[in-house]
């Protein structure tokens, strides 16, 4: 093979591998993996284990989670039309409390599985939406988690979670609707705060 041919082959190989790397990185699963891996890494890290170090551990986890999860989008979706009627201050308070609730539910479940490595089963893309199917393996029964994601300018962000078949946003939306029937928004915030305290 002469030099020209060698260069051509080399160039093709480089371009090919770059394209496949870029493809893997920009697919929903490709972007989700590093986020979830960083969560698992903190969970299995001995220096963060135990009830005593829970706050520090959760802080570290949420710093990673924030990069891949769109909590503002989740908050909008869970409140629906009510969101539009809220002041910016109230919206901020709600995002804070709802994020904390999701942290307690979702991260709490992952922690209960002891930081097993997540298996990625499937990925479905429809326009700017995607669903990544995963399972956290356990000895007898795994924890199935589906991540529903939206493409925000090239970044795939999670905006809904389906844990063990139960869609979090839908389930909490119905609960909040029921609470808002007999309470106003301030009452809902108080109940959220009470629930979050109960996890401590």
């Amino acid at each position: 093979m002469n030099n020209r041919q060698r260069i051509t082959v080399l160039t093709c190989a480089i371009v090919f591998s770059l394209v496949s790397v870029v493809w893997a990185v920009t697919s929903p699963t490709g972007q989700l993996k590093p986020t979830l891996q960083s969560i698992i890494d903190v969970i299995i890290d001995d220096s963060f284990k135990g009830e005593g170090r829970k706050n520090v551990r959760r802080q570290k986890i949420m710093a990673h989670v924030d990069k891949g999860f769109d909590f503002e989008e989740m908050s909008k979706r869970v409140l629906g039309r009510t969101w539009l009627d809220l002041s910016a201050v109230d919206q901020g308070r709600f995002i804070e409390q709802f994020t904390k609730l999701l942290e307690n539910v979702y991260i709490g479940k992952l922690e209960a599985y002891g930081g097993e490595q997540i298996q990625y089963l499937d990925e479905k893309i429809k326009g700017d939406r995607a669903m990544v199917t995963t399972i956290v393996p356990g000895q007898t029964k795994g924890l199935p988690v589906n991540y529903i994601m939206i493409d925000k300018g090239g970044d795939w962000m999670v905006y809904d979670l389906k844990i063990e078949g139960i869609g979090l946003i839908k389930n909490y939306r119905e609960q909040f609707k029921s609470i808002l029937k007999r309470n106003d928004f301030q009452g809902l915030i108080k109940e959220l705060e009470k629930k979050n305290k109960s996890f401590q």
Partner: protein
Amino acid sequence: MFFGRFPLQEFGNLNGFVIKRILLVFSLICLVTGGAQYCSAATEAGSMEEPDWLDDDPFGDEGGNVGGAETVFDPLEPMNRFFFEFNDNLYYLILKPVNRFYSIVVPREFRTCFGNFFYNLASPIRLVNNLLQGDFVDAGAVLSRFVINSTLGVYGFGDVASQEFGLKPRPGDLGQTLGVWGVGEGAYLCLPVFGPSNLRDIVGFAGDSYMHPVGHFNDGNMVANIAFYTGRQVNNLSLNPNVYEELKSYALDPYVSMREAYFDYRVKLISGDQAADGHPQPLMDQEGKYE
């Protein structure tokens, strides 16, 4: 009359007569309310589809329905909430202590075997329902599992079919069959003792209990039937002891959470997802960690 063909005689003529009438009334109500519901819901006739998870529009329509999802039809909410509270008290006062005692006295392996035994016994129900749904693949799997587990698995105590043959459990109940046939769930009902259900699934449950082998072996003795049912439920609970309390810990309104979860579970079952099968499996070991 369809229900007239069931062998109701051995359950006592009076019981059979009354139950026949109740089933007829229930199924009529079911069909009517189900039909009314389908007028407003945008679901296909003949199959229930899972909500499209990739649906848009977070702010929904005037009714506040977001992304195609609807609130479960619950006209009897005050009554349902009352029974939910009743069940909650029943759980903490009776079920939980009984369960704790049972779990201590009977080792996990035995309880798993009992669970397999109970599950295997109900195979005829799953077989018939899968056939009624036209799912011959699953019907065949149910039959194979029944034969393998009853023989190699020694009367069903061992789930050899899953472990050695890779044949996973397949669900099948009459409520699911009716759903596959296009019957709407009607109204949500929270039953005392039995828990979450709906009009259609109650009819299904009644129908399935006639197909359960145990009912045919003890001459319709209600006490024996109740004892069997209770024993099975306690055993199942002992294998997944934290399910109810977890739901309560995560929920701000546990009643609504359970209602929505039950609805989604049934939709998933009817639309053909294999994952939800009700087969009792231990989830957590004693330290509370997932196995």
